[in-house]
């Protein structure tokens, strides 16, 4: 019947050093229900935070996109909108109150979102101390990578973006200009690389959300009720991508001047 050949010479390629998982069993052999308790410390709790903050950011993006699209109605319309944002609820509240609250909410969301993402990634690293020699994805394997690296890309983008369009630091028009001017100057054909960067970043946002929106429902436990979630998530992401890219491209190609 079958034969084999002990691998002469080919043997013992120690591919990952003394690669063993910890032998000691987890400290709590007996289940200790409730002891860990802390919702925020549980992996599920972190996911919920990620989902809720993600949802806040998605909502912001939808509004932000709608606002951006106003540029197609003319500079003034856009500037009025930007101004309205800052003067919302005036005189009841001082200039920029609501916007600041919104901004703080956003910052908190971003921070919590990142905190949850990072601590889950660390958990995952501890859960698999020895890597596979060969590993092949069987699902949409890009998701984990896209989510984590995509998230980092988005973060870098947002920093640039704020310096560019909010604070005007890296914008040719500087801080004291009208928002529409900053935008039109910022995406000028001569600064094609800025536009390109935006395209890449927004595409990342799209990918992040294509998985993220579905993932959010899954995490919050609604995925069993809402059917056809995946196509829905893809649709929302696509709308966002198109909606976001329309103004910069329009500027770059001179549709809006």
């Amino acid at each position: 019947m079958a034969g084999y050949l002990a691998s002469e010479g080919v043997t013992a390629t120690i591919e990952r050093g003394a690669a063993t998982a910890p032998v000691s069993k987890p400290a709590s052999k007996k289940p200790t229900p409730g002891k860990r308790g802390g919702f925020l410390r549980s992996s599920n709790g972190k996911k919920v935070i990620m989902a809720v903050t993600g949802a806040v950011m998605v909502l912001f993006l939808v509004l932000h996109m709608l606002g951006n699209l106003k540029i197609f109605l003319g500079r003034d319309s856009f500037n009025e909108y930007a101004e309205a944002l800052r003067t919302l609820l005036e005189p009841i509240a001082p200039y920029r109150t609501v916007l600041t609250i919104l901004e703080v909410g956003l910052v908190v969301s971003v921070v919590l979102h990142m905190w949850a993402a990072i601590s889950l990634a660390r958990r995952a690293r501890h859960a698999r101390p020895v890597k596979y020699v060969a590993k092949k994805s069987q699902a949409q394997g890009y998701t984990t990578h896209i989510m984590r690296w995509g998230g980092v890309t988005i973060l870098l983008f947002v920093i640039w973006h704020l310096l560019d369009l909010t604070f005007g630091v890296v914008n040719p028009k500087g801080y004291d200009s009208a928002p529409a001017d900053r935008m039109i100057a910022g995406f000028d054909l001569s600064r094609w690389w800025v536009t390109l960067f935006y395209i890449v970043a927004v595409a990342m946002v799209g990918l992040h959300l294509r998985h993220g929106i579905w993932s959010m429902f899954q995490t919050l436990g609604w995925a069993t009720r809402v059917k056809a979630l995946r196509p829905l998530a893809a649709l929302v992401s696509a709308v966002l991508v198109i909606g976001f890219l329309a103004p910069p491209l329009a500027v770059t190609f001179g549709v809006i001047k």
């Binding site: 019947m1 079958a2 007996k30 289940p31």
Partner: protein, 640 residues
Amino acid sequence: MKYTEGPEIQDTKAPSGPIEDRWEKRKFGAKLVNPANKRKLNVIVVGTGLAGGSAAATLGELGYNVKSFCYQDTPRRAHSIAAQGGINAAKNYRGDGDSIYRLFYDTVKGGDFRARESNVYRLAQVSVNIIDQAVAQGVPFAREYGGLLDTRSFGGAQVSRTFYARGQTGQQLLLGAYQALERQIAAGTVEMFTRHEMLDLIVADGRARGIIVRDMVTGEIERHVADAVVLASGGYGNVFFLSTNAKGCNTTAIWRAHERGAYFANPCYTQIHPTCIPVSGEYQSKLTLMSESLRNDGRVWVPKVAGDSRPAGEIPEADRDYYLERIYPAFGNLVPRDIASRAAKNVCDEGRGVGPGGLGVYLDFADAINRLGREAVEKKYGNLFEMYERITGENPYETPMRIYPAVHYTMGGLWVDYDLQSTIPGLFVIGEANFSDHGANRLGASALMQGLADGYFVLPTTLGDYLAAGPFGEVSDEAVAEAEIKVRTRIDRLMAVNGTRTPDSFHRELGKLMWDYCGMERTEESLRKALERIPELREEFWRDVKVSGTAEELNQVLEKAGRVADFFDLAELMCLDALIRTESCGGHFRAESQDAEGEALRDDEHFAHVSAWEFSGDGPVLHKESLEYEYVKMTQRSYK
């Protein structure tokens, strides 16, 4: 092999009186253990299948201090997980005329009048509670649109009393028992020892007081003492090497208990299951069962003439022989297992078998697909069809399945009385490991029933009665040390041989020998041959087996070698038992004893008894327990 005959077994401890009242009577008569005392009483349960898992969980619930053992990495993997078809219960939810009495009647008759009436009646009574218990645990049995439980009819029964969970009934029932067990582990009443193999029984002052086990990860030999020991270690079908049993199934636990004094009853009664996937090559390591439920809709046939090598699809109706429907018009494809198996063997012996080596018959779903539609068939049997396709690479929706009989279940096992106690006081045996309720042939869907009846309901009562007299005090050190030394010596001996053949190669050879000489059909000549050959092979084994590695680590070769060694001893007893039972009954078919039509012919005058074998250094001693039938009249079984 020489044997002697000892005194008959007089008392099985079954209460007297009307059969319906006996179990009530026994329960009421059982002594109760003071709840405060229960924590002080230690019970060892070996095995976590339906029988052992349910027993350990229930004993834990009752408050005993339980230690549970299995050789797998978790109790949930016991061989019971593989049961597909279903579980019987006399619920009569269908109103089709079922009753406790009818289930009792069918089981006694199905067992070919070689089972005890009292035990079987109790089994039928308790069957009802099993379903209630399982449903309450959340076992997802099949349901009808009204939300009530669905049932189906199953091999050998004319009523629809089999409850099922798709083709995974055993899995779902076992998970129910496993979860109950894990609950007790969490509660601290049960301590679980996985990857531990029982290698000997500790008997002190005439009572079973503990076991010696090997930690299969470290190789450490451990002693565990207790007030009572329960064996639920399953069947020994793997003596044939190829069987539908899980690879790890073994006789070690019960065989070593047998060597310590527990009688071994009816070792020759083995069940050959008619619907298994045929062997495809000599490397084959196990056989896969296709659930018997397939026979509800599939039709069994072979070509009419020998040597017809056309593919199934090209053989016209006129050239097909639906032999079960032809020979047994009343039951057709649903005849009991022993009958279906032998019929398949007969047509293959006539040269009409199909597939490689001519060892197979067709199980055809073409009619069912026409009648019910492919979708309905898929719903009912989808997972089984998939399994078949995965193994054979053939699509059963298009070409008929090929099936062939394979060893499946062992009705024999350690002898127990009505209380499930063996001949060693304090040693209880439940589930497939005992011999009790199926006589010479087990009906489909009744092993699950028996295992759970024993574990959830019968044992907890009768064991309590025994333990009421406990705790039994310290166990003498000598008894424990003696057992431990015996185990160590045996392991050392296996390690020391260092020969040239693997344990598996011996196992294969033994299995083939058993299948050829002590399989579906046995003759005086074949059995004598086997009895001659087994000792030679065993001698060769102890001279030439090769166990690699050391005994102080996870060593699957050593585990295997130990089991094969026990199979040799058991095989010999099986052949002897088969040799002296010159009648045919149920799964035991002696070619010399058949009627004009080739059906099994019982010899009630000489063999209406249980053969219980006592181990002894100079050849086994036979004790008979005679069987009386007050309620079901002994008749020749007929399914025509």
